[in-house]
Amino acid sequence: MNFYLVQFLAGLASAASLFLVSSGLSIIFGVTRIVNFAHGAFYMLGAYVAYSLTERLSGALGFWGGIVVAALVVALVGALLEMLLLRRIYRAPELFQLLATFGLTLAAEDLSLLIWGPEDLLGRRAPGFRGAVDVMGLPFPSYDLFLIGIGPLVLLLLFLLFRRTRWGVLVRAATQDREMVAALGVNQKWLFTSVFTLGVFLAALGGALQLPREAVTHQMDLRIITEVFVVVVIGGLGNVVGAFLAAILVSELNAFGILIFPKISLILVFLVMALVLVIRPMGLLGKAEGPTRAHASAAAPWRPLDGSVRLLVMAAVILAALLPFAAGDYALSVASELLIFMLYAASLHFLISTGGLVSFGHAAYFGLGSYGAAIAVKSFGAPMLAALIAGPLLGCLGALLFGWFCVRLSGVYFAMLTLAFAQIAWSVAFQWNAVTGGDNGLLGLWPAAFVATPARFYWLTLALVVPAIAVLRLIVFSPFGYAFRAVRDSQLRSAAIGLDRQPIQWASFVVAGTFAALAGALYTFSKGSVFPDNLGIPLSVDGLVMVLLGGIETVSGGIVGALVFKALSIWLTSQTDYSKLALGALIVALVVAFPKGIVGAIEGLGGRKVRP
C-alpha cells in the first residue's frame, strides 16, 4: 500500500514540469492560435541554460538564481523569436506556424549539440532538497515534494494573473475574440509578445526544474512535446486548469502504467487520450472552437490538367523512365526514394488540401505499410509482391481504425489526435520486440530477384507510384472528391445538401492512409530494413514540410514539395553534420518567404487563374 502512495507522489512530482510546459503552450495557443511545436525546445533549452548557470554559480542562491535566470534568458530568446519570426506569419494558415516552430525545434536541437556537446549532462542536486524524507516508512526524494508544491503554486499565480490584472483580462478577452480586442484600442502585437514570452518562460522553468531530477539530453524536446500535446488535448486547449488536471492524470498513468501494464505503458496515455476525445471532443474543460476560419473562399477553382500540361507530365514520366540509362546505382536508389516520398507526400497532400484535414501523424500509415510488408516477409515468408500488398492492407486497416476516431474531431484537435495515434503505432513497433524487432528493427528485406538491381527496382517503383498518384488525382476530380471538398469548405452547407461529413472524411482518410502505406511498403524494400523511425514524428513532419513547400492550395503541390525537400535533405545530410540546423533554418526561411508554397508562388508569378 505504502509503495503505491510513494508511486502516486512520484507521479505528482512529474506532473509539475509537465503542467508548467503545458500551461505555457495552452496560454500561447489561446491567444495567438499558434500551436507552438518549439515549446519542447524551449523546455530543453531551459534545462541546458540552467545546467550551465548552476555549474558556474555556487551556493543555494546560485542554484535557485540560476534556475530562474535560465527561464528568463530562454523567455527573452522566445520574445525575440516572436518579434522577428512569428509576427510575420500570424496571418498564415495554422499549418505554416506549426512548421515554422518545428523548424525552430530542429535548429535548436543542433544548436544545443553545438553548444553543449553530445553527452547527457547531469546537473547539481538542489540545495536544501538533497536527501529523502520518510513517507510512511519509505524514502521519498525531498526535491519531489518541492515539485509537488510548485504545480499548485504556479496554478494559483496564473489564476491571480488572469483574474486580477488588466493584462490578464486582456489575455482572456483576446482568447475569445482577438479582432474585437484590437477594435477596442489594444495593441495586439505586444499582447501576443507578452503572452508568448510568459508561455516560453513557463516551459523553460519546467525544463530548468527538471535539472536535479534527470539528465539533460537532446531528446528532451520531442519527448516532452508529445506528452504536452496529450495533456493540452485532454485538458482542453487554452484552459490552464484543464492542463493542470490532465498533467496529473497523464503523470499518474505513466507512474502506475509501468507497474500494472509494463508492456503497454507507452501507449496507455494515448489510449486514455483517445477515450477522452471520443467522449469529450474538446477535452475535459475545453470549449467548442469558434467558427473555423473560412477556407480561401475566393480562390481560383481547381481544374484537371489541360492538354499541354498533360503532355508535359507525360514527357516527365517518360524521361523518368529513361533515367536508368543515364544514371548510376546510387543516383537510382536516391531516385527511387524520391519517388516513394512523392507518393507519401501526395497522399498527405490529398488529405490536407482536398479535405482540409491536417494530419500530424501521417507517418503512422507509411510505417504500417513498411512493417506490414516486413512482417509478411519475416513472419510469414511472403514473397515481395505479396508483401507489397500486405503493407498497404495493414495501412488501410490502421487508417480504418484510427480514422474512425480522428474524423470525429476537426482542426487542431484532429491534428493532435492523429499525432497521438502515430505515437501509439510507434510505441507498438518500439515495444513489441518479438514481432517488430523493437528498436533494432527488421533487417535483410531485399527486393525479389527480378527487381534486384537498382535500375529494376526503380522501374518497379515508378510503375507503382505514377499510377497511384494518378488515381489520387482522379479521386480529387471525381464526385467523391467534390463531396470531400464540399465538407471541407462548409460543413453546414454540405450537410444541407445531404452530405454526411464523417463517412466522407473517414473514407478519404483511409484512401490517404492506404497510399501512404504503399509508399512505406516500397520503402522497406528500397532500404532493406524497417525501424520505428518509419512511424516517427519527424517523418510525419517531413510530410507536412513537403506539402507546405509544394503549396497547400494546389492540387498536386505535394509532389513538387517532396522532390525538392527530399533531394535537399539528402544533399544536406551528405554535406554537413548539422543538417537539422540547416534544414530547420531552411523551413523557417521558406515559411516566411513563400507562404503559398513553391507551386503557389510559381502560379502567383505567372498570374494563372487555374491551379494545377
Binding site: 482572456r172 478577452a173 479582432e179 477594435a183 480561401a296
Partner: protein, 244 residues
C-alpha cells in the same frame, strides 16, 4: 491621399474613393462619407449593401482597402486598428461580440483608453448612469445577459475608450421595440455629450429618431446623400434602395 487634404479643413471623419475587397471579390466602389463633429449620420441600406464593410474598412479590419480615410484632418488609412481607436474613433460591431467569459466590469476594462482633451472622460459609474441595467449586472458574465443588455454593454465598452466619433453597426438589430426606443434615447444622450456618430441601419423609423443626415448605400456605393429632412421628402429614393 491628397484629395482629403485639399478639401476644406474640417474636423471629423472624411472618407473618399474607398474601395475594399474580400479575396477577389470587390465589395466597396468609391465609397464616400463625411461626418462633422457633433453630427449623427445614418448609413442606410439593405443587407449586403456594404454598410458593415464600410465600417470595417475604416477601422482597418479589411485586409485589402484603397482610398482616403481621414479623421480630424489626419489620414488614418493603413494604420493598425488599435492606432485608429486611440485617435478617438470608436467602433461597435454588429452581432455584439462581447467577451462572454468576462464579467460586465471586465468587459468595460478591456475598452479603457486615456481621457481625450475636451471630452468628459467615461468611467464605469458615468456609464451606469446612462445604462442603468449594467450597474446591477456588473458582476455577471457577459454570456449570461439578454441580447438587449449585451448590445448596451458593447456600446458602453466602446465608450470606455473615450472616442470622439463612434461607428455603430446596426444597434437596433434583433432588439424588442421597447429596447429600440431606449437605444434611441441613449444615442441621443451620446450625441448631447458631444459625440459624433455614424449608425448603419435597416430600421428607418429608428434612423429617423436619431440622425441629422443620411447616406443611402447600395451595391457598395453611396446612391443618395442628404439631410434627414430632405430624405424624408424623397419616397422614390426610399422605395428604390431600401424597400424589401
Amino acid at each position: 491621399m491628397s484629395a482629403a487634404f485639399e478639401s476644406p479643413a474640417v474636423l471629423g471623419l472624411a472618407v473618399n474613393k474607398l474601395n475594399a475587397w474580400y479575396g477577389q471579390a470587390h465589395i466597396l466602389f468609391d465609397m464616400a462619407i463625411e461626418v462633422k463633429p457633433g453630427e449623427v449620420v445614418a448609413l442606410l441600406g439593405r443587407n449586403g449593401a456594404g454598410k458593415s464593410t464600410t465600417f470595417r474598412s475604416i477601422m482597418g479590419l479589411v485586409p485589402k482597402v484603397e482610398g482616403d480615410i481621414s479623421f480630424n484632418n489626419v489620414s488614418i488609412a493603413g494604420l493598425p486598428t488599435y492606432e485608429i481607436v486611440r485617435r478617438g474613433l470608436g467602433y461597435v460591431p454588429e452581432d455584439r461580440r462581447i467577451f462572454t467569459d468576462l464579467t460586465v466590469e471586465e468587459n468595460l476594462s478591456v475598452g479603457v483608453q486615456p481621457p481625450r482633451p475636451g471630452l468628459e472622460p467615461w468611467t464605469p459609474e458615468r456609464l451606469y448612469d446612462v445604462f442603468p441595467n449594467l450597474r446591477e449586472l456588473r458582476g455577471r458574465q457577459g454570456g449570461r445577459m439578454s441580447g438587449g443588455e449585451q448590445q448596451m454593454l458593447t456600446i458602453a465598452r466602446t465608450l470606455m475608450g473615450n472616442p470622439s466619433l463612434v461607428l455603430l453597426d446596426e444597434p437596433s438589430e434583433g432588439l424588442a421595440p421597447k429596447i429600440v426606443e431606449q437605444m434611441a434615447d441613449i444615442i441621443l444622450k451620446m450625441k448631447a455629450s458631444g459625440l459624433s456618430l455614424v449608425i448603419s441601419e435597416q430600421n428607418l423609423h429608428f434612423a429617423r429618431l436619431i440622425s441629422d443626415r443620411v447616406a443611402v448605400i447600395e451595391k457598395g456605393a453611396v446612391r443618395y446623400a442628404g439631410t434627414m429632412a430632405d430624405f424624408q421628402a424623397r419616397p422614390d429614393i426610399r422605395d428604390a434602395f431600401l424597400a424589401v
